[in-house]
Symmetry: D3
Subunit: 225 residues, 6 copies
């Protein structure tokens, strides 16, 4: 099975070494089971640090984005350093470079690709290009909710959600920050190619294996009519 | 002045050699006047030909897009062959390559960059990265209308339009094909960096010089509040 | 067995999707049988379209050639989009890039490499570099004739031909267009390295497998003294 | 005059935006005065953050170095984002890429190049390759002292120092951390090509212009017999 | 004026340092006079040394050629090391890389590009691509003779020669080694684009300036009907 | 087992074809036994030839080094031409390129990487990056001696030596030329990552297999406390 895993940039912080190590272990297990894996990493706190500095210096939005995606590439390289020989030992910087890397048969790890584009969009385009069987969005909540679960005690998690429902949830505006999770372009790509997509919590990386194995009811699955 | 010109792919067809030559002449004049120019070319009929063949062969949407952007790069190279020494003599295939090309001081000509992304979006991102003074979208109509001018005789051309109005016009759905002109991402980029943008007809390329010179009332100008 | 297949650019046209699909299927079968494959694609009608436009614009011969080889690369990418994971997912643009691609173990698909050089020459140089066991020139006739079979009803097909005889046939000038099939440089390369070479019709792609399997009497085989 | 400026990674932290802006202004002034500038940035706190995480994950020393030099490249890109058109808009990742970048005539900004190599060594090799007239090491102390000025109140700053004296000072071991400033390889390069070198404080960037203008007595100058 | 100079590989030997220095000086003068220069270097004795070793090791002809062109690139780099800032500081390895290098405005120095192709062919293709005003083939004889001047005392030097005459002279076979000077492909390129071409002796590099300045009667000029 | 083999540049001379062929055979055997191999080649006589010419031309030390490392790359390519499909068919020119090459699973052959750096240092950094199990330094003496064995008949070969002892031997200065074998930076890298390292004679390449197989007492082994 070909699997693309998007990992939120929030985990690339001191203190999360055990979690990062677990992500490495999961990847090795999946490869040993015969799966092919691509990993896309977000920018996280390092991205925000450099973007904040750049903004104070009057740098344009596009260049702020460039700094953010360089930070996401630094996170990608940290994952590569954990994976060793299992991984393609460079971080692709464009679609061309990704495809060349993918052709080696290794795990390919990358960050962002372009200004004005989220790393979730990168993950969905990559998934479409390699005809991935599964796209996993591993983030800091355990699925998609109808309201912000941190603010509303009666927030309800979706086990399954259609792209149409998802657009409604995101438009309803009660979940600021979800933009990062799934923006308009990534939803269009997932929809047009009907890519099987799961949103799960990164804090329980074993769930990634369970989903690959076919387990149901973990996180939220995006479904098509 | 730094100017990004998006040229619709529709002009890259036999019979349009005079028009293509005129685009080359305009570019030379602008360079002689001291302006720096980047040109983004659409995919046009060649893109459609290859996408149609690929679709019949069951190729994924992402790879259809890849073929389309390779076709747009072929159009870019045709422009380069006209410009000669004036142009950077290769077609950048990623943001990195564009920035390296731009650093030479030459006219840079490129097509698309990624699947899932219009060449208008490429033009807007490029414009943002180089802090362009002006973005010109040269297409096959002479501006933005409230209705499709080919269907409605009472269609009214906007001399100026805000991004908010533009979103309404596009959402109203009466102008199929405008997607190609300005999609959601390109509007967001133009808006967030308040890039001065003009929509004009490519069939009168002298208008490009007039706009650079500061003429008013040609095509449609996108304005900000 | 290492096999290089040159495919005439003439097949990359709407209406030939079944043929292109068959070429993809043949390639998959050959890979499953344990063979390593490189494919070189010609430029065809797209090349001619752009070269014609460029010539009307007064572009130099070298740049006309550049446009032709970009068109052949577009055809290469169409083949890649059919092959998916089986293929190296980028089109090499130089000998260096070809060799890096070949090192991944994938099917490598490329078009032309340089102005002033036919794609048949590219195929012969590639064959020599990888010490190919077999070079197949798949074109729109079913072999090499002593006269143009479209004009002369008594034209005789060679089952075998030496390079010396081939030079005579080509010099005799009765077969305009054969230049495309085998030019002077490709014959020199085939000769100096005694590369086993077959000329066959692309319209019966199963013949490619038969030749790889060792069948005799299909198309024309180039032999050495 | 060709000038290479090494900037300590310590300044790439929130709160130092004014200092970073001043470095940008200084560079623009030097360019306007007709000088050609290359800037090498250290890795600083971001490098340490990623190296610390990697070490806890059991990553090899070479890969820790790789993460450190990616961090230094992120710092380089921040400088580029400040300089805009003045700078080569990409970060060279090897000597080849540096030389190609330098050939454009722009300010070139880079971080580290290889594991096992300090960014000061990078600066000295770059300086040697372009036959720089001046190498400025801008760090967080205002020159080279005979003892650690933060520990010894009687530490004496050298106005001039020979490489031989410098080796003695560094070997005497009283100045931990100087390794970062000038390691064995950078001293060898400076010595063999007798590169005019000044160590100055980055916190007073105007001094960089003064040194380029020929002022004496600022920081410490490395002299040759 | 845009000038391409092909320098025979024979001069890249110890003892010729003065000659190599003179070639550097000539190039600087031409640049100072406002000309743009590309230099193509042959492989010479180093090429032969490696090709001979490879042949004894049973290496294929294509790889022998590869070693020869790497040797020619080593010679190119020696010229670059003499030219310093005046030159593009890398050796292009493909037509794409040459064109990118040429776009910087620097002197570009390269060796061979492909197996099965002489460096004279490279020079003619490069000349055609950049629409060079002049192609100078600087070799170890002072022009083209009707017979080998080393063997026949009555050999007559041509002041002017047409491509048709040149083909006859080369076919007559009395001048072994001329293959290196002008092979079939380079003559075709020179002919189809009517590139002004002079064959001169490299041992009198001042002649290169004279020819650029318009002097007549030096070496042999290739003329067109 | 992952093995890095540094081969002295001295063997890349006419007359040594049998030795070079044997090195190729050894490499094939090691690959067939399931080992992964990287080979680093020195510059040898070709390097010296070009460096000598450059020095007479007044070229800077850094560019002399550049010529030396291009020569070492020519030697690397000769090894690749012997290995054929077994090898990655290009010579990496930077750490990034090496890592991409290594990801293909092929034997990777490279020369130097940077001015101011020995090919032994390259071999040690490469070994550290890929977590090599073994680093073999194949040179023209059969191990490390306490004195120069060519000058002192009572010179004693070490079977094992610690890095500390090694530093003393090298500092004692009685062994000019050992610099080439193990310089300060390569020793630091070997030490910090405790890379298992053997110094052996290249003139008996079978010894390389023996050491990989675990044989003791061949050449000199570097040991750690």
């Amino acid at each position: 099975m070909k699997v693309v895993i998007k990992i939120t940039g929030k985990v690339f912080e001191p203190g999360n070494e055990n979690l990062l190590g677990a992500i490495g272990d999961i990847t090795k297990k999946l490869v040993n089971l015969g799966h092919r894996i691509a990993i896309v990493t977000g920018g996280g706190a390092t991205a925000r640090k450099y973007i904040d500095m750049a903004r104070k210096l009057g740098v344009s939005e596009a260049w702020c984005d460039v700094l953010g995606l360089e930070a996401s590439r630094l996170n990608a390289r940290l994952i590569i350093s954990i994976l060793g020989d299992l991984a393609y030992n460079d971080v692709p910087r464009s679609v061309d470079e990704f495809l060349r890397a993918w052709s080696t048969g290794k795990v390919v790890v990358l960050g962002g690709l372009q200004p004005g584009q989220s790393t979730t969009t990168v993950a969905s385009i990559i998934a479409e290009l390699i005809c991935a069987d599964l796209l996993i969005l591993a983030t800091d909540v355990d699925g998609i909710y109808d309201k912000d679960p941190k603010k509303f005690s009666n927030a309800r998690k979706y086990n399954k959600i259609t792209i149409a429902e998802l657009r409604n949830v995101l438009l309803s505006g009660t979940r600021a920050g979800t933009y990062e999770l799934l923006d308009s372009l990534s939803m269009s790509v997932i929809e047009r190619s009907r890519i099987r997509t799961h949103v799960v919590s990164i804090f329980n990386p074993e769930n990634i294996i369970r989903i690959v194995m076919g387990a149901k009811g973990i996180g939220t699955e995006i479904v098509f009519d």
